[in-house]
């Protein structure tokens, strides 16, 4: 199995707050990998770092065997007191849109659908880099088949959708670009158990049938571990455990801290 995503010892800071401290993890081609951790552990920060929405201050990130972000020993260069995302000496650091162009799609925390746009326009935006109108139309129909509720609402403004519908739209939007790596930030947050189940089933289908590699972040450890091949546990910006998900489900520490067993 080859590593699709290889994160090596990255750190991210918000001012003086160190949100990630030398985090290393990897995701193999074809896997579903989950990252669990409590509120504020740094899970979202990690996903943002992968897509260059937050600059790293240490380490490197490789995708498909190529560096997409890398910091030399001197640390990030600074400008106006904030680390800049891309400086001339670090030409290997890609911008967010470039990373998207390489086939990485993120379903962000809180869904972040374009509220003032219709369902269909949101899907169009997901296909922004697809320049083939026929392919876009075909993809949209696929999405409406996959998530029938979206088909019924295609001309509706997104702000009128329910939370679950918005989550499905956010996933569908990410799939419009036919990504190789799908990153999901708490896809189950705030949703009813039945809907969460439905969404995780969909994630499975995407992984199995479309050969999309999935890296997902969840607070709901039980459902995330059951849905994934491998898992990482993060505490205070540090990876404290990593193992096959089946083992993590049995792990005493995990059971006590994240699965509500005492």
């Amino acid at each position: 199995m080859s590593k699709l995503l290889d994160i090596d010892s990255i750190s991210v800071s918000y001012g003086s707050i160190k949100a990630l401290r030398e985090v290393s993890l990897h995701v193999n081609e074809g896997e579903i990998v989950c990252l669990i951790g409590a509120n504020g552990a740094g899970k979202s920060t990690l996903l943002k770092a992968i897509v260059a929405l937050e600059p790293i201050t240490h380490g490197s990130i490789a995708y498909q065997g190529q560096m997409i972000a890398q910091i030399d020993e001197n640390g990030a260069k600074k400008k106006f007191g904030v680390p800049i995302r891309r400086s001339k000496g670090l030409s290997s650091n890609l911008r967010t849109d470039e990373i998207a162009g390489r086939g990485v799609a993120l379903v962000p925390e809180g869904r972040r659908v374009f509220a003032d746009m219709t369902v269909e326009e949101n899907l169009d935006m997901g296909a922004f880099l697809v320049r083939d109108d026929e392919l876009i139309a075909r993809k949209k129909e696929e999405m409406y088949d996959f998530f029938p509720i979206l088909g019924a609402r295609r001309k509706q403004k997104t702000r009128s959708l329910s939370g679950g519908e918005q989550q499905m739209l956010a996933i569908a939007r990410a799939l419009m670009s036919s990504p190789r790596l799908l990153l999901l930030d708490e896809p189950g947050l705030g949703l009813a158990p039945l809907i969460i189940q439905d969404i995780f089933e969909k994630i499975h289908i995407i992984n199995r049938e479309d050969k999309v590699t999935v890296f997902l972040v969840e607070q709901n450890a039980s459902i995330a571990l059951k849905a994934s091949n491998r898992g990482y546990v993060m505490e205070n910006g540090v990876i404290v455990l990593s193992d096959f998900s089946t083992n993590l489900l049995e792990n005493e520490k995990v059971r006590a801290a994240y699965l509500g067993d005492s």
Binding site: L53, K79, F80, D97, A100, R112, F114, M125, F128
Partner: protein, 305 residues
């Protein structure tokens, strides 16, 4: 007072004035929509565009008035638009972009600085004396049932309508237009879609600046061209953008038209002294800020999670 003809006369005057405000307001609102920042140099970009238009027109129009003068006028307008578009993009690149991650006040101050630099440069290079832009056609009014309409007014209305419809179609339907809306709704998520936000921002400045140059060139026929011509007009167009709901394109169009009508009817029907005409906009601003701070078509800002 109050005959139907008179009413239509004021309506016509108000609409042309409002159309001009609307064209300028669009630039403020589009930039605000994406960067949450007021480009205080917008009025000066308008002024520079008007100068470039004037110089181009004087250079190519020839001696006698005829069909060519009208064509030359539009070519000159296009030259002003293109120059302003480039200027707008250059200003963004040099004076605003490096400050994007600094405090919110920094780009605002930078914009005020750019505004002063442009108007002082214009005064230094081209003098403070106002320059006359000649009508490219015979501007004697046409009387339609007692309403006098000048060819100039028809020109303004036609250009304004064409520009607004084109802009609306572009923003609503085109790929780049949709990307513009997405970027203004949520910049980070737009980037996740593969949209080059920097490019979209540059295009936004280009379009807004070109529209301002158009407006400047059109009013220059009446008010002439001078280094501070953009100041008051720009400020009022900014008010129009706020009244309509800053960040909202339809709002800028509505706010501009309303402000034009308000100024015209305020003086004509409500008996507001002509000397106080310029205050109408600001009274409207204060009222809207008190009653509906988000503007007529604006949406109340929700806190981002």
């Amino acid at each position: 007072m109050g005959s139907i003809a008179e009413f239509f006369q004021h309506l016509m005057n108000g609409l042309t004035l409002g159309g001009i405000y609307a064209l300028i307001a669009l630039g403020y609102t589009m930039v605000y929509g994406i960067l949450k920042f007021i480009n205080f140099a917008h009025g000066d970009i308008l002024m520079v565009g008007s100068y470039i238009g004037l110089f181009t027109f004087d250079a190519i129009r020839g001696q006698t008035m005829g069909p060519w003068t009208v064509i030359a006028f539009f070519i000159a307008m296009l030259a002003g638009m293109l120059f302003s578009a480039g200027l707008g993009m250059a200003i963004e690149r040099i004076a605003y972009k490096p400050l994007r991650r600094a405090t919110r006040l920094a780009p605002l101050l930078s914009a005020i600085g750019v505004s002063f630099i442009l108007s002082n440069m214009a005064a230094w290079m081209w003098g403070t004396k106002s320059r006359k832009l000649d009508y490219p056609f015979d501007n004697s009014p046409i009387y339609l049932k007692g309403v006098s309409i000048t060819p100039h007014q028809i020109l303004i209305l036609a250009v304004v309508i064409v520009m607004m419809v084109a802009l609306k179609l572009f923003v609503d339907r085109s790929r780049i237009g949709k990307a513009m809306r997405a970027t203004s709704l949520d910049q980070d998520t737009a980037k996740l879609m593969g949209i080059k936000a920097d490019k979209i921002i540059a295009i936004t400045f280009a379009i807004g600046s070109a529209l301002a140059a158009t407006a400047g060139f059109l009013i220059a026929l009446e008010i002439k061209v001078y280094p501070s011509m953009g100041t008051m007009t720009g400020l009022k167009a900014f008010v129009a953008a706020v009244v309509g709901g800053i960040g909202n394109i339809s709002g800028a169009m509505l706010g501009g038209i309303l402000l034009g009508l308000l100024e015209t009817f305020g003086v004509a029907l409500l008996g507001i002294p002509y000397g106080l005409r310029d205050t109408i906009a600001f009274v409207a601003l204060i009222i809207i800020l008190l009653v509906k701070p988000e503007g007529l078509l604006g949406k109340a800002e929700k806190e981002k999670v």
